[in-house]
């Protein structure tokens, strides 16, 4: 072998060795094409959705491991899933569901109406931490006349009943430990949950529907957003479910190897007033504050070109969305006029309880400087999320606060005068009740649009902006959800092209 060829061979051997190192560097021990690696900041606290499991378990399990009678699709519509059909009595009080046949749990047991009954009852149980528990207060009884039929009777009409059912996971009634194991009917079963690190899902051979696109999906959990971005940059993960910091985006936005999707989230950043206490019991004062804040500038400074301005509590994926951004326009002159009308020509002072985590401290500083321009002095009181919960939510001991509200269809909280923000407009309360008692979704939508308009008119809170839902994925990945409503993240269609 002459010298140049020997050098080339040596070089090749060295680069092969390095390539071996690089591919060995991935935490993926199986072949690359059959596994999709997902990166997320939201590790489940436990595996149950009635034990306060947090958003992590919804992200990993909802629709993937557990299924409901209905599902909330990525566009915000509600579609039947385990329910083959359903009928509603004329008075709207009796719902009869027929279950899909041939559905089995991961343990092999066939799905019956008894499982559906037990699953709904788990949400209603005394120790249940389900977010939907209060919505099911109208359930009067659940009957199971045969294995394939469930009959639910309500005390009063509830147009949201079907939608609320999309949050109820159908669980094997015989399953004993829902917090650390699972027995659902979804396209994936739980592989291994390695606490602090990853949770793997494996395709379920006996799935009743179409087989999932990828055999194995692994959620890799990070506590640090930079570490998560780095994992995507080094191909250790293929997709990041939700980017929480726009700073990380520049390295992906102009890179052909990645696709950045800007979807609609349901997370609203809100300046919440305690509407019970002075001066925020005065509508003019609230409207004055709304008009003093340049929300467009705020959104841009926090999220760059991403995110949406909303003029009310309602995101575009809710059926009763309408553009109300001009009800309380940015107009400092109008703001000063409103303050003068309310008797605060010289301004006033208030304390803003600010959760200590992003983005609230930055938002608080922005609000403070904007309000200073119209003569209002803000004192920022930074508190932990724990303290927020105790002081603001439970004790309602605050003047104003910042908070993100993550759920869809949550405008209805403005109909509850006991809710922490204390907004009390009997007309709105009546409209929310009326919407829930509607016979048709059109009626419901019409009533809730009136609610949106009224709370915007009253400036019940300042809806600063709607978070973007940014998903960054390797460009060869297809089939992932871009909106990710309520932290759900359906993985069964994700595949490499």
């Amino acid at each position: 072998m002459n010298k140049p060829i020997a050098f080339v061979a040596l070089g090749l051997a060295a680069s092969l060795a390095l390539a071996g190192c690089a591919s060995g560097a991935s935490t993926d021990s199986s072949s690359a094409s059959s596994t999709v690696e997902i990166g997320s900041l939201y590790e489940p606290q436990n595996l149950s959705n009635v034990a306060g499991g947090g958003q992590g378990v919804t992200e990993a399990f909802n629709g993937n491991v557990y299924e409901g009678l209905f599902k909330l699709a990525d566009d915000g519509s509600v579609e039947p899933l385990l329910a083959e059909s359903n009928t509603v009595s004329d008075d709207g009080l009796t719902y009869t569901f027929t279950l899909k046949s041939g559905v089995t749990f991961h343990s092999g047991k066939e799905l019956t109406s008894a499982d559906v009954k037990a699953s709904i009852e788990a949400v209603l149980a005394e120790d249940s931490q389900s977010a939907r528990k209060s919505s099911f207060g109208t359930i009067a009884g659940i009957e199971t006349p045969d294995d394939a039929t469930v009959v639910v009777t309500l005390e009063e009409r509830s147009i949201s009943f079907i939608y609320n059912l999309s949050y109820v996971w159908i669980i094997n009634a015989d399953a004993t430990d829902g917090e650390t194991t699972e027995d659902g009917t979804g396209p994936y079963t739980l592989g291994e949950w390695k606490r602090g690190s990853s949770l793997s899902l494996e395709a379920f051979d006996g799935y009743w529907g179409d087989a999932p696109a990828t055999d194995e999906v692994v959620f890799n959990y990070f506590t640090d957003a930079t570490a998560l971005s780095n994992a995507l940059l080094t191909d250790q993960v293929d997709i990041v479910t939700s980017v929480q910091s726009p700073d990380a985006l520049t390295q992906f936005a102009d890179n052909a190897d990645y696709v950045v999707s800007d979807g609609d989230s349901t997370t609203k950043e809100i300046l919440v007033f305690n509407d019970r206490v002075a001066p925020f019991d005065n509508v003019s004062v609230r409207k004055a504050i709304y008009s003093a804040i340049d929300t467009e500038k705020l959104l841009n400074s926090i999220w760059g070109d991403y995110g949406t301005l909303i003029g009310s509590m309602v995101p575009p994926t809710d059926p009763w969305y309408e553009d109300l951004t001009q009800v309380n326009p940015y107009d400092p002159a109008l703001s000063e006029q409103l303050l003068a009308d309310a008797g605060f020509a010289d301004g006033f002072e208030f304390t803003l309880d600010t959760p200590s985590y992003d983005p609230h401290p930055v938002v608080a500083e922005f609000v403070k400087s904007e309000l200073a321009k119209v003569g209002i002095t803000v004192t920022i009181n930074t508190i932990s999320s724990d303290e927020w919960y105790t002081k603001v939510y439970k004790a309602q001991d605050f003047t104003a606060t910042l908070q993100e509200h993550v759920n869809d269809r949550d405008v209805v909280w403005y109909g509850n005068p006991d809710f922490y923000w204390g907004y009390n407009n009997p007309e709105v309360t009546a409209l929310v009740d009326q919407a829930e008692a509607s016979a048709t979704t059109d009626e419901q939508t019409a009533a809730l649009k009136q609610v949106n308009e009224q709370i915007a008119e009253d400036a019940a809170s300042v809806w600063l902006y709607l978070y973007p839902q940014i998903v960054v994925a390797a460009s060869d990945l297809t089939g992932y959800p871009v909106n990710g409503l309520n932290s759900q993240f359906f993985v069964y269609d994700i595949a490499r092209s």
């Binding site: 060995g24 560097a25 436990n46 306060g52 005394e126 650390t180 506590t223 994992a231 940059l233």
Partner: protein
Amino acid sequence: MTVYLLRRSAFLVVSFLIAMVAIFVLLRLLPGDPSNALLSVTATPEQIAAAQAQVGADRPVLEQFGDWFAQLARFDLGESFISSLPVGPEIAARLVVTVPLTLLAFALALVISLVAGFVAAVKSDRWYGILISGLSQLGVAVPVFWVGILLVGVFAIQLRLLPSSGFPRDDWADPAEALLSLTLPVITVAIVMSASLTRYVRSATLDVLGSDYLRSARAQGSGFVEALWRHGLRNGAVPVISILGIELATTFLGAVVVESVFGLPGLGSMLLRAIQQHDYPNIQGVLFVSTLVVLVIGFLADIAQRLVDPRLRTSLSGNR
């Protein structure tokens, strides 16, 4: 020496018991309610009460303490409030990452600092001796996460030689893969750790070099290396051993930062999440194990010092 060992062991047990009480009491004195971690912004008063019952926050503190101590006596660290999983096995799973990380970083730092510190002392008038001293000064000032980010930027993102984060799902089933994912974290910790260790080794060596006994030994005809080996090493080792103990314990406790930067499922990241969630059983469990480790390291360092230096043995054990 036997009496000293007995006395030192009794001291170890008593400090451990005091630490356990302190951990329990301090956690309860912290503001905040562990049940909050289970609740959402739509929780009803009924759900708030249920969450408090679930985490046992509705029971008297003394009763909770008694339960915990009874559990510990049975070598049971209890169950997490949040996940309902037993704490002990989870800590064991995390130690599989944290212990190798700490020991490898410590060993690497030891090698670097012994060589660098010795060279910096013996060659304190040469440019490389001065450079080592300067670098070690700089290293002490640099935060560990910054070194980590820098190394990831170069070796993981630019050169693609090493993984940026994570640990194999099957732990040490493939040792090469596990070692590969620990490489950057180990180097990160070792760099920061060796900076301060180098300074100690350097000053201990300088002390020895300037000592009378070394001069006497050489005057009696010993060569430089022989004199250093027979007299210098032992004398220089005493102060270094106590610093080593402290450094080892600090690295073990300081794993939080480096584990977060590298997404490692170790004890540090477990503690971080447990604190965020007010998960008392998990916090207590991690602190229990780390306190034990730190106290035992201190104990072993003390013993090692006495084995190395007979003078300490006699002065502290009452001439027995």
